[in-house]
């Protein structure tokens, strides 16, 4: 099938494109990019007044399948991603069972093939059962389709194990992703340690629990000459460490979530469990440093850490609620409104951080770019559309999102995966 996208503002950081152009898609690939393409018989999409970007990639998602299908399934998570403007998502291995062997990776990919609206890229665990002791069969997992390795949620505490994982990863053309947290320092903490944790009487997670492990990982990656990706950076001290490491040419990249950019610890006054995640919401000073790091290139990627939980699990005392919030369906509008529309960063930089860079870090060769021969994964944006967040309209199975009722400017209008429209807002009519 052929699809012709007409008159969109095509913005692609990988090629430096920012121009009104037509795109022709044939057999799931982009085959022509130029003005006024004529393609008789092609399905035409009028993108006039809209931005056509390389498909967005969320490299930090929890899909909960297998094992916790009451929170999310591969199918519902993928539908949420499509609605949120993502064409590809990478799913963390902390399912039940843990994705630490070929069988689980193959299961995820086969379910994805049957049921998922978007591309699913499994991330396998670094260690067996995420116990932080024995390395998984990393080459076999990559052969089965894993794209990266992480013990997200149960981060590797033993530095020797992390060192070996980084060294071994070099033969695999992959990246180790670390949720940086010293579990002894964070202990039973439930929010950022500081004035507000003392005020609200909640146990704190100090900035040092993140900083010490970021520092360790940078030192180990540098020595091993391996690639390390720092998941959800949340504190200024970690930003400073990454910046310094990049200056020294260490192979380090970093991501930030929308919630760490737009919310602070003071909000926990309400004891609203939708404000509980790990790493926790940090201070105003940290938020300022994160925004600066997005601007100056220290942070490479926007990722959601989409962590669905059921309503009942979150409707409890703050201490007893699980960590994590739902993020796939609010991320793009939040970032467009708070960063692009407010001129904190350019549209170009936004697309670089949500498509180009994650494709490079995960080594997704034909994704994250608009050029002839690339996969026809596209996100079409309306920069002027005003939306109001309503968790009850989520495609995700879960509702645990703290942005309810926020009015935001800018939203995905259409999501195209391999030439196929997987999401279309009611306002965009095919012609």
């Amino acid at each position: 099938m052929r699809v012709l996208i007409k008159n969109g503002r095509v913005v692609d950081p990988s090629t430096g494109t920012d121009k009104t152009l037509d795109l022709l898609i044939e057999k799931g690939k982009i085959t022509q990019i130029k003005p006024n393409i004529r393609a008789s018989g092609a399905k035409a999409i009028n993108a006039s007044g809209l931005v056509v970007a390389p498909g967005f990639i969320d490299m930090h998602v929890h899909l909960r399948e297998p094992g916790q299908e009451d929170k999310e399934t591969i199918a519902t998570g993928a539908r949420a991603a499509a609605k949120g403007g993502f064409t590809s998502i990478a799913c963390m291995p902390n399912t039940n069972p843990i994705n630490d062997n070929r069988g689980v990776t193959e299961y995820i990919l086969s379910e994805a093939k049957k049921n998922a609206a978007v591309n699913i890229f499994p991330i396998a665990s670094i260690t067996k059962e995420e116990k932080g002791k024995e390395l998984t069969d990393m080459a076999d997992l990559m052969d089965a389709g894993a794209k990266a390795f992480s013990d997200d949620g149960m981060p590797v505490q033993n530095s020797q194990v992390m060192r070996r994982a980084l060294e071994y990863s070099k033969i695999l053309n992959t990246v180790i992703i670390d949720h940086c947290e010293d579990k002894n320092l964070s202990a039973d903490g439930v929010m950022h340690e500081g004035y507000y944790s003392y005020f609200f009487g909640l146990a704190g997670i100090p900035a040092s629990s993140e900083e010490t492990i970021v520092s360790r990982d940078i030192i180990l990656a540098n020595k091993a000459d391996a690639a390390i990706h720092i998941a959800h950076v949340s504190v200024k001290g970690a930003v400073d460490l990454v910046k310094e490491a990049k200056r020294k040419k260490v192979k380090v990249t970093a991501e930030v979530t929308p919630h760490h950019l737009f919310l602070t610890d003071s909000l926990i006054e309400s004891y609203d469990t939708n404000l509980k995640m790990n790493p926790p919401l940090r201070s105003k000073e940290d938020v300022r440093a994160l925004k600066q790091a997005v601007k100056d290139g220290t942070i490479d990627v926007f990722a959601t850490d989409h962590a669905p939980h059921t309503v009942d699990e979150k409707d409890v005392e703050f201490d007893r609620a699980p960590f994590g919030i739902n993020g796939l369906e609010t991320a793009v509008s939040l970032l467009l409104d708070k960063l692009v529309d407010k001129n904190v960063i350019s549209l170009h930089r936004f697309i670089e951080m949500i498509s180009t860079n994650p494709a490079l870090i995960l080594r997704l060769e034909n994704k994250g770019k608009i050029c002839v021969g690339a996969d026809a994964d596209l996100t079409i944006l309306n920069l002027n559309k005003i939306i109001r967040v309503d968790v009850n309209s989520f495609k995700s199975k879960s509702r645990n999102n703290p942005f309810q009722d926020w009015e935001l400017k800018g939203a995905p209008e259409m999501t195209i995966v391999g030439g196929k429209t997987v999401y279309s807002s009611s306002s965009l009519k095919n012609t």
Binding site: Y198, G201, L202, Y271, D315, V316, E317, F318, R320
Partner: protein, 312 residues
């Protein structure tokens, strides 16, 4: 004399004039407990539930007596928080109790913010009897009642609070209250239990008890719990006692008419020497006595007024 709160969740939500209203009201109720017939009909027909998810003798009995002396009907639920966590949720427990149409629910819970959470879905008046490390408002109010009784005014008083400030809801509520009323507050304890950020509450911190006690009007000792030692907040009870126990020698540095307070239960010979706990300057049992009057005042102000509707 307006007190337009539906709940008593913390001192943080009260103004200084509302605090004064509670203390004045408590004064008028104090005499009831000294009568031959210790009962007034003020809250006849009201139903109150004491819902305690943590062990307590003092606070629970104090609320129970306060309710009974106001002629309210009160029942006690003592639930083990950990077994409750495995079975019925906190929310379901409250909704079930509420189906029996109580007027107020007094809650003690090990999780900070539990009473704030309850207030988001409960129809009853919620009274916080201690939530986690957060607040214990009636304790601070009875402490204030006792201080006012002895010192007449809060303005300029030097109040020294000693011990595990980090994990103390009593300390937090007292800090909020004493600062609102204009007292000077100095917190004392070992550094791991006394983070620097606490100075943002408008208090001073000092790691040296001898220095801090100098010229104090009020010395409030907090119970030190053994489990803190296991987590290395301090090396040993022996070392803690050497550095932070209130002894006669240390107390000499305070003002002549200084008073000694403790929310109980006390560890004799640990945070306070036995002779100090029992001396004439100690008002520890007076605090307990005043607790009943203060809790009568709180119940009356929340349940007895005409204006049932209000903000929290």
């Amino acid at each position: 004399m307006a007190f337009k709160h539906k709940h008593l969740l913390g001192i943080q939500n009260l103004t200084s004039s509302e605090i004064t209203t509670v203390l004045d009201t408590a004064e008028s109720f104090f005499e009831v407990s000294t009568r031959e017939v210790k009962k007034v009909p003020t809250l006849r027909g009201k139903t109150i539930i004491n819902l305690f998810f943590e062990p307590s003798t003092r606070t629970r009995s104090s609320f129970e007596l306060a309710a009974k002396r106001l002629s309210a009907d009160i029942i006690n639920f003592n639930l083990n928080a950990s077994s409750a966590a495995k079975g019925e949720s906190f929310k379901d427990t409250i909704l079930n109790l509420e189906a029996m149409n109580p007027d107020a629910i007094i809650i003690r819970h090990s999780c900070s913010g539990a009473t704030h959470y309850a207030a988001t879905f409960s129809q009853s008046n919620i009274i916080n009897a201690g939530d986690g490390f957060h607040e214990h408002p009636t304790q601070a109010l009875l402490d204030a009642f006792t201080i006012r009784e002895k010192k007449k005014s809060f303005k300029g008083l030097k109040v020294v609070i000693v011990g595990d400030i980090l994990h103390s809801r009593v300390a937090r509520s007292n800090i909020f209250l004493l600062r609102k009323m204009g007292a000077r507050v100095i917190l004392v304890g070992p550094p791991p239990l006394l983070p620097e950020e606490l100075t943002q509450f408008g208090v001073e911190i000092d790691f040296n008890l001898d220095r801090a006690v100098e010229g104090a009007d009020v010395i409030m000792m907090l119970r030190i719990q053994l489990e803190r030692q296991a987590k290395n907040f301090f090396p040993s009870i022996r070392e803690y006692r050497n550095l932070y126990s209130l002894t006669a020698q240390r107390f000499q540095r305070a003002k002549k008419n200084a008073i000694i307070m403790h929310p109980g239960p006390i560890n004799r010979g640990v945070e306070i020497s036995a002779d100090m706990a029992d001396c004439a300057k100690s008002v520890i049992l007076k605090q307990v006595e005043n607790g009943v009057a203060v809790r009568m005042a709180v119940l009356y102000l929340l349940l007895g007024g005409k204006e049932r509707e209000g903000t929290d």
